[in-house]
Symmetry: C2
Subunit: 108 residues, 2 copies
């Protein structure tokens, strides 16, 4: 097989204008995903999927991460065998000012 030059390092995700509020809310409405988003908020430089303690198996993790990514909440870039996820703060703030902060600042 040819050397397959530089696979996309960033996994497919909606452009800022394509983000739909309904999908974002649905994505954030799950307790596991909310946990992950909160963890991401604490480390802006990106986090590997496995680095966050979550009460689910690997495959379920993958599932949740895809939902968050396809909703436009997080961005994922491949780095070696790992995928580093990070919050799309700028995009979300631009599109729904205050929403993300409102979610993250929630006490419990």
């Amino acid at each position: 097989m040819p050397p397959t030059v530089a696979q996309h390092t960033v996994l497919p995700q909606p452009a800022r204008e394509e983000i739909r509020i309904e999908q974002v809310l649905q994505a954030l409405g799950d307790p596991v995903r909310l946990l992950f988003v909160r963890a991401l908020a604490r480390s802006p430089e990106g986090v590997a999927c496995g680095a966050v303690p979550l009460p689910v198996t690997k495959s379920t993790r993958t599932h949740h991460l895809r939902i968050l990514r396809e909703a436009g909440v997080i961005s994922m870039r491949a780095e070696g065998t790992r995928r580093l996820s990070s919050l799309r703060r700028e995009d979300l703030d631009a599109r729904y000012p205050g929403l993300l902060d409102g979610v993250l600042n929630a006490s419990h």
Copy 2:
């Protein structure tokens, strides 16, 4: 049966401090409920359940309204045979500043 003096005019709902972000997000994540919330935002004085055009039957409406009420998103008071719903703007803004505005200002 005794005359059952003065039924509660406001239907049971969580106090401000009891509102949980996860429940709010889940409540707002449904397309029908989001439609209703947007309609409420346009008429702050309260709206009768049946007065909002929604693509579901009466009983489904009741279901959605209860979820919104129990999540702390809306308040309902009985007035005659009708139940007037209104957004709990103050409570939501106090607890999750920016969240509601972020949701309501979403373009589509």
